[in-house]
């Protein structure tokens, strides 16, 4: 991350590196900049843990793929996975899962309905971050074993996001009951220290060696029920400096890197030996405003801000124009999104007149915070500063360290801040976390937005299963929230993976899952 400008300047004068032959054809070298804090699938806290667990563990259902221009892409529709079949009855309040036969855990024991019941009950008992949504849908007693290969789940209500929750590794991963009980068991509300660093599931890869600060590995599981993976090993190499990651990629030392800063991404796109794959993640770079603080407690002020903002210019400045401007308070890749309820278009006169109506004819002064070291957010904040100045809003841009930043936005200390969080493709979860007054603060509603009508509609959404009704509700919700504008969405976040041309078969999902089974180097 250090001195990106230097790289650009130097790279400009650079000769193209010669084409490389595929090195280590059965091992994928993946450049990453952080390490997993936990690989306990039901207590994953960050991405590195999820990358591993997506391949060590499996879920009852999984997102489908579709072919786009000859290339597979992940979708947000579900298909059976460890469950070869599932049926909904009782008005969508009872689900019966029929497990695939002959699925074995990596220790050779067979997967049974007991393990499924145990795993779901464990998520509820641990009651960590991801469990909340599942807890709203099901009680531990509602998960019943019918026979060794059949599980029945009675829901508390017609929870429409239930299946999607099961598709998420951190709520739906199936663990072996025997293995967990042998290694610490389940203590309600408590992390399991053994499973934090050890994992054993039904997936195509097993946990391999880990060297702190250097690498962590996955090894192929030759007995995987779906056939042997194409690669023998995945090596995640910890390379903290992104410019260095890029150099290593250029030299063929790494096969894949992701999340390069936009300047290096642009360089990569010109590189003939590399391909750039885009994942439409579910998230937006957002300017949050604290709705309980003056002057942002007045919707007119928030709207004025949106009229003063030029989203394309922000995308140009922060992402070299790669990111798509937001057209709703929901990210474009989230199911239920519509871009047709967005009234805003840059209009400085309108912004000024709204400010005048709100009692700030000559603007006001405020502060935008971002976390230090995040170049994209810095550029966003500085560009916002210039744009808002045009309507008399004088903004001070301040960077703070990550711990202070998280504390500040979760406890409502900042008047404004820029952040982008990635979410699962679950509409109800997104709505509840971001806009329900009950989630104010750490729960995800960082703008401390409160609109009883919106709370009511979100509750209604969580009780509606018919797709047409849900879409209509989602549209109404967006219309209302877009008007209230508790936060200013700026542009949709996409994740970019830069890889060698020889890396084949890697499908990217909006949900952010990484499945390595069909990845190969050719």
């Amino acid at each position: 991350m250090l001195n990106k400008r230097l790289w650009i300047a130097l790279s400009a004068a650079l000769l193209l590196s010669p084409a490389q032959a595929v090195s280590n054809p059965d091992t994928l070298y993946f450049g990453v900049y952080f390490e997993p804090a936990s690989i306990d699938a039901h207590a994953i806290t960050e991405w590195a843990g999820m990358w591993l667990d997506d391949n060590i563990y499996e879920t009852l259902v999984r997102y489908k793929t579709k072919s786009v221009g000859g290339k597979l892409e992940g979708t947000t529709t579900l298909q059976p996975w460890l469950a070869q079949k599932y049926t909904a009855s009782n008005g969508g309040k009872t689900y019966t899962f029929e497990l695939r036969k002959n699925v074995k855990f990596q220790d050779g024991t067979a997967l049974t309905a007991d393990d499924v019941q145990f795993s779901l009950q464990r998520v509820l008992a641990l009651d960590l971050g991801p469990a909340k949504q599942l807890k709203d849908c099901v009680d531990p007693a509602g998960i019943k074993v019918l026979d060794p290969l059949r599980v029945q789940v009675d829901l508390k209500n017609s929870c429409p996001s239930f299946l999607a929750l099961l598709a998420q590794t951190n709520t739906g991963a199936i663990m072996s009951k025997t293995y967990v009980n042998k290694n610490g068991g389940v203590k309600p509300g408590q992390l399991n220290d053994y499973l934090r660093t050890h994992g054993m599931g039904t997936g195509p890869f097993t946990m391999g060696d880990t060297t702190a600060g250097v690498k962590f590995e996955l090894n192929a599981n030759p007995n995987y029920w779906g056939g042997k993976p194409k690669l023998a090993k995945i090596v995640f190499r910890v390379i903290k400096d992104l410019s260095n990651q890029y150099l290593l990629l250029r030299q063929g030392q790494l096969d894949v890197v992701y999340n390069l800063p936009s300047e290096l991404l642009e360089q990569s796109m010109k590189e003939p030996s590399l391909t750039v794959n885009k994942q439409s993640a579910i998230g937006a770079q957002t300017l949050y405003m604290n709705n309980t603080q003056k002057p942002f407690n007045d919707p007119k002020v928030r709207q004025a801000l949106m009229y003063a903002v030029n989203q394309q210019e922000l995308s140009d400045a922060a992402t070299l124009g790669i990111a798509k401007p937001s057209r709703s308070v929901l990210p474009g890749a989230l199911p239920g999104y519509t871009g047709n309820e967005w009234p805003y278009k840059t209009n400085l006169d309108k912004a000024k007149s709204l400010l005048k109506e709100a009692g700030y004819p000559s603007g006001f002064a405020s502060t935008i915070y971002y976390n230090s070291g995040n170049a994209e957010r810095e550029k966003t904040a500085v560009t916002l500063q210039a744009q808002l100045a045009k309507v008399g809003i004088k903004v001070d841009v301040r960077s703070v360290a990550w711990p202070t930043f998280v504390d500040g936005y979760q406890t409502g200390k900042f008047p404004m801040f820029v952040v982008s969080n990635l979410a699962a493709p679950i509409l109800d979860q997104y709505m509840t976390q971001n806009f329900d007054s009950g989630s104010a603060g750490a729960g995800g509603n960082y703008s401390f937005y409160k609109n009883p009508a919106v709370d009511k509609m979100i509750a209604q959404l969580s009780a509606t299963t018919a797709p047409a009704d849900r879409n209509a509700l989602a549209r109404r919700l967006q219309k209302t929230i877009n008007t209230d504008l508790p936060l200013a969405p700026l542009y949709d976040v996409s994740l970019y993976y830069v890889m060698q041309k020889w890396v084949k078969g890697w499908t990217l999902y909006p949900s952010g899952n990484w499945y390595f089974k069909d990845v190969s180097k050719e």
Binding site: D193, V214, Q410
Partner: protein
């Protein structure tokens, strides 16, 4: 001498204790909640946060937390690092050798390059060598280490392909030698694994040179000026008059008298570098204590920050003691009692 040594050694635990208290207070002054950082700053319910706080003892009053911590330290337990899930002691043990190896080799390079250059510059005062050396030392002093590191990687690896890529202590597909001391150079020699020795040494050149650059500049500036001072002393003239060769005069007489201030500065640098050089470690993906410290701060990992601070304080105190003892060895006029 022995009483002096004992007195100094008895002070060490007190220093470390004081550092732990100051660090404890400082890290708790930083606004932030380790529990919510554990969840990556993502949306999370209050119950989940409470669960984690309770499990880590963060719900206890601060003085109680500190006493618990000290109690653990007395039993040789530095606590569990919340951001890695491992014990802080094993985390540090896994990373310290990387830092030690890099620092020692870097220092060695610095002394081997810096001392002769300083001596030559001093003896050819105001000549072209002197001017060149002084200008270079000014430049290396002014250039930030991480920037120097990036330029070194770019030129020596990427453009000229003379040095290996900056992937840490070993090439990307190599395995570490059997673990004896954690110092790869030493371990590979001890196990007769010469290919790993070669690979390790090759990987070390660029980062060690980066570490050395800053120190070389310091050595040159300090040593050159004190050498110049010594060369004009009467005893040097006497030595020359006795008919000693120029080399004998410089290295046996002048250098020995001139080097004490340099040792002090180099000692401080050594202590500082041994406690981790986060910038160089970042640029070269060097899995040392400096990177670990930065990660710990980023995740407000109290136990890890405290652990590294205490180990760093211990190293610093011991290195300083070593430097003080070295004075007596070099300069017979200095005696401790």
């Amino acid at each position: 001498m022995l009483t002096y040594l004992l007195r100094r050694l008895l002070l060490v635990p007190l220093i470390v204790l004081a550092i732990s208290l100051v660090t404890f207070i400082l890290v708790h002054l930083v606004p932030g909640d380790p529990a919510s950082l554990y969840f990556g700053g993502q949306a999370v319910s209050e119950e989940a946060l409470q669960n984690v706080r309770r499990q880590w003892g963060l719900d206890l009053p601060l003085p109680v937390q500190y006493l618990y911590y000290l109690g653990g330290v007395m039993r040789g337990n530095l606590g569990v690092a919340t951001h890695t899930g491992q014990s802080v002691l094993s985390d540090i043990a896994a990373r310290l050798p990387a830092t030690v190896e890099l620092t020692l080799i870097g220092m060695l390079l610095a002394v081997l390059i810096g001392v002769p250059l300083a001596v030559v510059a001093a003896t050819r005062r105001n000549g072209w060598i002197d001017h060149t050396v002084r200008t270079l030392s000014l430049i290396t002093l002014g250039v930030p280490t991480f920037w120097a590191g990036i330029v070194i990687i770019y030129l020596f690896n990427f453009v000229w392909r003379l040095l290996p890529p900056a992937v840490g202590r070993l090439p990307i597909d190599a395995n570490p030698p059997t673990d004896i001391t954690g110092l790869y150079l030493l371990d590979s020699l001890l196990t007769g694994n010469f290919s790993t020795f070669g690979a390790t040494a090759f990987q070390l050149i660029a980062p060690a040179l980066t570490v050395a650059l800053g120190v070389i500049a310091v050595i040159i500036r300090m040593l050159r000026s004190s050498m110049v001072e010594q060369i004009n002393q009467d005893y040097v003239r006497t030595a020359r008059a006795k008919g000693l060769t120029s080399r004998q005069v410089m290295f046996k007489h002048a250098l020995r008298n001139a080097i004490i201030p340099t040792i002090t500065v180099v000692g401080i640098q050594l202590g500082y570098l041994l406690s981790g050089n986060a910038l160089v470690e970042t640029v070269f993906s060097w899995p040392g204590i400096g990177l670990y410290f930065i990660d710990s701060i980023q995740s407000l990992d109290y136990a890890a920050v405290l652990g590294v601070s205490m180990i760093a304080a211990l190293i610093f105190a011991l290195v300083n003691l070593g430097v003080d003892l070295l004075y007596a060895a070099i300069d017979p006029r200095i005696q401790y009692g």
